[in-house]
């Protein structure tokens, strides 16, 4: 298996503050499922920002699929992120003024590459979005509804569908289960990992909750 994500000697500090993040090395293979455990304030979210190319490290390199993010321009990083990385956040993943389906379709609107990957399978982005939502056990009668009408657990599954549409190589999840209760939490993670298994998407799952580590192949502490 080839390398998906490689981090070396990474250091980051918000302006005028002590280094928040100091990560000597982190490697994730393609299709690998990694659990990144860290307490609140340990810089988990910042790390996601760095890996997404939205924040710039003061030191070190981040390579994704063999590309050094520092080599890209700002807009180059935006295009690269849109094409290869899917994100799921803790809460409020969705645009409140779009329907469930339109939220899922967003990456295909911003990334030509992700739209093309869907279309290369001979289906339209809308068909693919519906397929993903169905796989994630969302009731078809919710697809056209505003996202504010559905429960938090359903919203998080919509966020998974959006992160996975167009088969990005890497999925980054930032405490996506913190708002869910224990039962739905495990079911959610199982569903997420199962979907990623099908598409061979690597997963970096960030959480403070050590109980969740059992779902993953590898656990790294920050």
């Amino acid at each position: 298996m080839s390398e998906c994500l490689a981090i070396e000697n990474l250091q980051f500090a918000w302006t005028d503050q002590a280094p928040l993040l100091n990560l000597p090395s982190l490697h994730v293979e393609q299709g690998e499922k990694v659990f990144l455990q860290g307490a609140s304030g340990s810089g988990k979210t910042t790390l996601l920002g760095l890996m997404g190319g939205v924040l710039q490290p003061q030191q070190g390199t981040i390579r994704i699929l063999g590309h050094d993010l520092q080599q890209f321009s700002q807009s180059g990083r935006d295009i690269f992120r849109a094409a290869h990385i899917g994100f799921i956040f803790q809460l409020f993943n969705l645009l409140p003024y779009l329907s469930v389906l339109d939220n899922v379709l967003l990456p295909c609107r911003f990334s030509l590459r992700r739209r093309e990957r869907v279309e290369s399978q001979g289906i339209t982005p809308t068909q693919e979005a519906k397929r993903l939502l169905e796989h994630l056990q969302l009731n078809p009668n919710t697809y056209q509804r505003p996202v504010t009408d559905i429960s938090v657990g359903q919203q998080q599954r919509v966020a998974v569908a959006r992160a996975l549409i167009g088969q990005p190589e890497l999925l980054m999840a930032d405490e996506p289960t913190s708002a869910l209760d224990a039962d739905t939490r495990d079911a959610f993670i199982a569903l997420l990992l199962q979907e990623c298994q099908i598409t061979q998407t690597a997963v970096v799952f960030v959480s403070h909750d050590t109980h969740l580590a059992k779902h993953f192949e590898r656990c790294i502490r920050l």
Binding site: T45, T46, L48, G49, G52, V54, L55, Q74, S75, D78, I79, R81, A82, A83, F87, F89, F92, N93, L94, L95, P96, Y97, L98, D102, L106, P107, R109, F110, S111, L112, R162
Partner: protein, 424 residues
Amino acid sequence: MQKLSTLLYLAWKSVLNRRLAALLTVLSIACSVTLLLGVERISQTARSSFISTVAGTDLIVGARSGQIQLLLYSVFRLGDATNNIDWQSYQKIAKHPEITWTIPISLGDSHRGYRVMGTTQDYFEHFRYGSEQHLQLAQGQRFSGLFDVVLGAEVAQKLGYGLGQQIVIAHGSSTVNTFVHDDKPFQVVGILQRTGTPVDRTLHMSLQGIEAIHVDWQNGAPPRAEDSLSSTQVSQMDLTPKTITAFLVGLKSKLGIFSVQREVNNYRGEPLLAILPGVALQQLWQLIGIADLALRVISSFVVLVGLLGMLTVILTSLNERRREMAILRSVGASPWHIFGLLQLEALLLALFGCVLGVIFLYVLLWLAAPLLAQHLGLWLVFTGLSHYDWIVLMGIALAALLIGILPAWRAYHHALSDGLTIRL
């Protein structure tokens, strides 16, 4: 193009999501647009109505004074003539081979604040206004007898006069009249249709009628009781006027205007002045056009206020929308997309404001047209958007984009500093 349509779609959905604030913003822009375009419409109409107070008249001749003064008293019945024209001079000039018709007018008396004008039948034949319209009688007929009077529409309406009404004429133009020609009452024989010009505020009678009420006067003072003549006595006399105040001239050909004008101005018998009514009207309009300019400046500021309202609405929405921006960033939007999104939002609000404003304008014009015609004699013409209107509308859209740079720039910086982290 794909990105633009995506941003347009998102901007539209986002605006819809905040529809109350957006609607109020659009309404305030629409009202300001209506005001700005409406002021322009009405001032255009007022201007063209003003300029066409006299039409088809090539020259106006009066005693030598200022061009605008002559225009004011001969056409607008404002102010008084400094001097009169000798009847002989008038006769002489009227015979000029280039001249087709003349309308002599004699001013100086009034009735309850409305000016009385002595003239001839030629007035009904040749006087034109607006787009070359002739005067039309609404009721009755032209004056023919010595003591007949034809009222302008406003005079009849405001004073409540009908045909057969007996009226007396006051000497001079002051509303507080000391001398009243009450020994020689006039009878209303006709009422003119409304023209929207000073004709509506004038009482018309024959030159002989004017002469008749003054014939027994001595040196500008009313006759003593024993010298005064009765109406019947007067009608036996020769009532050819000795002087007139001014006369309007129609020429055979427009080409003759300047040569006739020159000849009148160089007339040896007495100092006269001939003016081109169109030129004088333009000049006068430029004087009163200051008010017009002031209105336009004020309405431009109202538009600015409308746009600043939009700025406030967008700026205050920015903080609560940082999360929205972070989500967009995570699905692949660049900070420039965020910038464009907010610019499009400003543009959308302004465009809807413009469209709604234009709709308001036409509804308002449609409602106001009968009132303006009735009360001010302004005839609104329903035309499409003029070149000027389009420039104004595009100017507003451009201004919205310029003003929109501020929130867009702030959102751009939020997008850069927040990244995917939503710090609230």
